[in-house]
């Protein structure tokens, strides 16, 4: 079973690295999709089936497509950056910060005794249970989430449509 973990992790990491390093934007998105699938696979591995399905449905089905649309609407269709520099100014600073963060997290995790924890028994949470708590104990956050999503939807439409509205 460890092997499953290692394989999936390898896929996920490769997807992430490619998504962040490739020159061609569309390739980046495809790599990102790979990464999303990897994460979903991890969820399945962790017995969180529902989350895995949601992950695919939402990220692959929605977010990735959204990003693709954004690329199509903003870049030259081939999605290549041309010969232009892909790295922004002060990129070394970014890399440095990332490395520092990674090292610190690593150190913290290494030190934490919780980290040695091994899975005990099966943590099963049926969809029904999730639904239960969602509409009983967490109903207020749930509603707030609904409001947030609606607001985001309307906001996105308004922002993106601004120009057409002006044209009318």
């Amino acid at each position: 079973m460890d092997t499953a973990f290692w394989i999936i992790s390898a896929v996920t990491v490769i997807g992430a690295v490619l998504a962040m390093t490739l020159r061609n934007l569309v390739h980046c998105v495809l790599a990102l999709v790979l990464f999303f699938f990897g994460i979903a696979a991890h969820y399945f591995l962790l017995h969180a089936d529902f989350l895995g399905a949601v992950q695919i449905l939402l990220y692959v089905g929605a977010v990735a497509v959204l990003i693709l649309f954004a690329i199509m609407l903003t870049r030259h269709v081939t999605g290549t950056e041309g010969q232009r520099e892909v790295l922004g100014g002060k990129w070394w600073a970014g890399m440095g910060t990332a490395v520092i963060i990674a090292g610190l997290l690593w150190a913290v995790i290494r030190r934490d005794q919780l980290a040695a924890l091994l899975p005990t028994g099966a943590a099963k949470t049926s969809v029904a249970e999730i639904g239960q708590v969602l509409v009983t104990r967490w109903v207020v956050p749930f509603e707030a989430m609904g409001v947030l999503l609606t607001a985001a939807l309307i906001g996105a439409v308004v922002i993106a449509l601004e120009e057409f509205i002006r044209r009318r």
Partner: protein, 103 residues
């Protein structure tokens, strides 16, 4: 399935760093957003791992993940809409060129 929790934490820390790296150093705004998405996912992976290793009260732990995913979705929608609007304005999505807010 008997990998210790630390593996998952390490993995998500690593992914987080990768996303951060990209978000901080890439030039294209869309890629920055993608990096942020990666960071989001790394965090959510942590939550699920905690749930699996029974550090949270089940099943509420999964709800954290669900809420986080929903927020990430909203964030990406707004972010991309903004990118498109910015592109209309500047004819560019290069985060180094969009500096008209400089004091």
């Amino acid at each position: 399935m008997n990998v210790p929790l630390s593996y998952y934490l390490m993995l998500s820390a690593f992914l987080f760093a990768i996303g951060l790296c990209g978000a901080l150093s890439r030039k294209n705004a869309i890629l920055v957003l993608m990096g942020i998405e990666i960071m989001f996912n790394a965090g959510i992976l942590n939550l699920v791992a905690f749930w699996r290793y029974k550090l949270f009260a089940t099943p509420s732990a999964q709800l954290f993940a669900i809420f986080a995913i929903a927020i990430a979705a909203a964030e990406s929608a707004i972010g991309l809409a903004l990118v498109i609007a910015i592109y209309r304005q500047y004819k560019s999505v290069d985060v180094d060129e969009i500096t008209s807010l400089k004091g």
